[in-house]
Point group: D2
Chain length 360, copies 4
């Protein structure tokens, strides 16, 4: 195929995750690297290099492809979107608010920013969960007069949550959800991210604006497409989001009230069966399973389970009856916030959209 | 006053916490140290000494009193309970099950073990929460023909939880509680406790038998004394207990449904007012406040707040309206599992019982 | 007494440590708070407040005095040095290079910055180690035509090191020193300091410019005052400085070659005797001992020993014969980098200088 | 080929590492699993299963082969050594002292225990470093009348150290070595290993008997084979061994005195060239390089570099001139203590011995 794609915000850690997910991709050719004015005009290697020590500020275990390090970084403000079939963005929300609509006039934009997530004509696509919401992109194009579109991925705490709530909703009906997240520090990035002084031997029980996102985005993603809009799911959801001394991987303790009641065994079964259709599409970045169910009561653990299926599966365990809710269930999930929850998840969404003709 | 007291299980970390809380106590004189056969006959200093390196296996920041290190440790199996006004025990449940009834024939036993917590004639006393349950001790004595009694402190995750639930129950009525705990590693002790290999960069989402204890003990403690028994509180409570890489201090994310509705402001007010009567008793180990309410949204944090009021206060923050429950509230608490939740909390209970004539 | 003093750079963590060490000080009255233009004109409380959440960005366990929070922060660039008997600075080196000479024309400056440490007429004073170097301040004043002076405290890794090397040098002669430091993250401050993503489950074996400072400053501090200069000590010193996942406290593994040989017992003796004269001065911030010697082979440990003597003592242990050097010794030390190694250490130096007539 | 081999001590973590390195091995067939009496007679899966929760106590990321879980564990005391071409042992030293000589009468034993490391007719083989010492095995067989032999791998801190010292010794001559290790917690195993309460936010500067092993084993490994014995290398070596909050990987700060002087560039060159012959043998478990040299001054880091070459390479960086020693060098290395330093390293030694006719 060979869709030409660009990564905007390529020097930050979120941008690097996109780059790592796109280099050597079978469908996408990473021909555009863009960042702020400060990096523009340098090669990617120069832009990543620490001026003091000469060390490469590349934060991922997999190395960047040598040819990418030679590629010249463009100024995101000047980027010509028409040179690409798709643009991936990893910039702050205020920057996204400005750049993304400009790109979208001509080109599909897959965004990791929250800027447009709650706009009525913008779907937040989560692999296997709500692919039918993609048709909202046509509404968006028509309404805004764009040839491209903007489609953001959700907050990284939402991804794993809705992957488990969706099959529960379908099988048993979903009324109420209480969730406490124990989030790894990589979710905060590196600028400056979480300071070691704040988190070693500690828990920080507040992540600004996170709980609101978890609540609003989850309801939208689980909502029903109704004509040219998505009706928010009629469920109550309450979150407490905390930061814990874990590098990667978000752990979530979930309590749900179902409409029709659910035994732990039945829930485990629907979790295991979830996402087969999506996986069956054979998209290049898709895992073998979207949900991995573990029986060991000490699992899932972020260090041991975040990399299941290459970080693209959410792992669920400790599935139990809950005594607070009617037909209640409780369980624990672990999801990889910087794989499925970020760059590689965005690439998987793009693959889906390419396979359905939205890109290219 | 000078009540002579003993600590059984004095070499373990829980026993050391009792020893540290009792040495130089204004009311209690620590004249008895007892442990298993292996330590019996040695001085306390010898019993604590590592045979290989000669280092003192004493795990607390405050040093043991020199005269205690010279005291000879007795065999717990042979201890004469009549030599003491009160015996504090810090032994495993199976050992407690055997030793405590023997001691209790003549002597009050304050226990950190779970062995007898759920017996109908055994109160689980939590300072400021349910002191009226102490009258159950007379029932226990009458029923069992004992001059002493057994009264255990609760599981360390329960202590902070019920301290916040009690004022909510009184002020607003309490229907349902969902709690996720993020527990420090000291709660598991040292034999072997939590292995570093298991918890660095990790969360372990299961602590065997912990959730059952949290659910059952909380309902009992919040229950109403009815004649010669305690009626379990009519509330639904569901817990998920996790272990996090934190040394000391349990953090708990709590969601509650109230009967009459509660604004965050009203809840903060009842938290602030809670426990004034108890604190007013002026017991030696009592904190100035049982609950500390913090307004900084990033608090409470275990490292920063566990030592509030010398580790004897529970700190509450992030008090918000909850969207899942009718009249819902959510908040986060931090409680010191090895101070108020263990040795020093047990000593405070003993002080209360001494002040009320149950001891001495 | 009541010397009026100021803290420049009062909003950062190093400045806060100075503030905490000076509030309620028996000799010094903290009447000046200064910072960059951004904070100038605000009260200290406003300057510390996070605009988003309203939380106070105060990083120390001891609270700031309420009256300080009401004090107006001045612009460091406009500060009138003549209003103070002494100015404490906690600013970046480039800022120090500009501000400190201006203040020093009229007023003594105690600096935590490295800007002037290696100037020939500037002593780096370490309590109990080289107080005789203070006379260099008169040389500095004469040479520069200043009524004040600049005297910096050393790099925080140096403080504990020279406190142990000094008695070894005096008792046994010192030829060579090899040291590997395992430094806590607080040494890097908070702007941005050490990122959790970089240090959890990790060691970072490089701290830019740290090893050079350790080598040069140690030799200067251990040097001999010779007329109007300090002759660098004739010793060889080589350092490897690493960062470890420890909040506070620097651990240093030291290997030394002595001239006259030293048994571990003799070394322990000279460590124990070190600093008695200095401690005997009875300065308000001085510890009861400058060095604490521990016999337990598992000590010193940063978490257990950093707070010995209120963080103002260096703890030494594992004193052994070294097989590599003639007359060799090896030992491990722990020193509190943000107490004796920072704000409170600077205040102690100021107390010494005040007691000797250099300040006031 | 298909040598039948056994793992003794197969349930512990060191034994599991052997099992993981041997399952699906191209040359060795793992037909024997042995452990203490407690596990004997159970299948491996049953022996690993936690009786309380049913969870598999298997500690490695790579799963055990299903057919191994069905294999019956034998009692190590009754194991028939003649059924195997080679026996790998992962037992405590006191057990090794008894079992290994019995097995060695007929069968080669590759041991991870320290019991026989310092015996004069026992070589401690380190891949690429001293393979010529293998001829000592013939001396051992002759002297003891054994058809098999015992050959232990070294302490895990030694492996990486001698891999870097060997090329320095060969190229520049080696006189003195000072090393401080910062060791990961996995080196202590799990029974009970390092307790989280002891190491979070901490450094423990003592590992019993570790420094003596590092000093003695390194000198033996670097020694010269002289007839029927190994002459210990004529060098002075002094170690301080510490434990840090790192899961896996030992970091070592090394300072060396050379005979002929060495620039950092020359040292980097000899490190890069080291081990080509050994690697050229094409043994199944051998890495592509024994030493990886990194230029980034912030490297090597245990979390980022321990898995280089599948954990079978030692990574060296920060190569600098040292100011304490004549012709001095200093550098930092990271080595994987539970890959090359344990099970997989033992298997690599066995592969070498098989390729040379010592096994089979």
């Amino acid at each position: 195929m060979g869709h030409r794609v660009a990564v905007v915000g390529c020097t930050g850690i979120a941008g690097q995750q996109l780059v790592a997910s796109l280099q050597r991709h079978p469908w996408f050719e990473l021909t555009g690297l863009a960042a702020s004015e400060r990096s523009a005009g340098k090669t990617y290697g120069e832009a990543l290099r620490d001026p003091g020590t000469g060390a490469l500020r590349w934060w991922l275990p997999e190395d960047p492809a040598p040819e990418l390090l030679e590629q010249v970084v463009q100024d995101a403000a000047d980027l010509d979107p028409q040179a690409f079939s798709c643009i991936f963005t990893a910039v702050e929300s205020d920057v996204a608010r400005e750049l993304e609509p400009r790109y979208a006039r001509t080109t599909p934009v897959i965004s990791t920013a929250s800027a447009f997530r709650m706009a009525p004509d913008v779907p937040i696509l989560v692999p296997g969960v709500n692919m039918e919401h993609a048709s909202l992109l046509r509404v968006q194009q028509a309404r805004r007069g764009w040839r491209g579109f903007i489609t953001p991925i959700p907050n990284c705490t939402v991804t794993g949550l809705v992957m488990t709530l969706k099959p529960v909703a379908e099988a048993f009906g979903l009324r109420r959800v209480v969730v406490t997240s124990l989030q790894g520090v990589s979710g905060a990035g590196r600028s400056p991210g979480v300071i070691a002084l704040d988190i070693i031997d500690n828990v920080v029980p507040f992540i600004p604006r996170e709980e609101e996102k978890v609540e609003a985005e989850s309801k939208k993603i689980l909502g029903r497409l109704d004509g040219d809009t998505v009706r928010e799911a009629a469920l109550r959801l309450s979150a407490t989001c905390t930061r814990v001394p874990v590098l990667e991987g978000h752990t979530e303790a979930v309590f749900v009230e179902t409409e029709r009641g659910a035994t732990p065994e039945a829930a485990a079964r629907v979790f295991r069966e979830f996402g087969r259709d999506f996986v069956g599409l054979g998209l290049p970045s898709a895992p073998g399973r979207l949900l991995v169910v573990v029986g060991d009561p000490f699992r899932p653990q972020p260090r041991l389970d975040r990399d299941n299926e290459g970080g693209m599966a959410t792992t669920v365990g400790r599935i139990r009856t809950d005594g607070v809710f009617e037909g209640g269930l409780k369980y624990v999930l672990v999801t990889h916030n910087t794989k499925m929850g970020a760059g590689k998840g965005a690439v998987l969404v793009a693959e889906y959209l390419a396979s359905r003709g939205f890109i290219g």
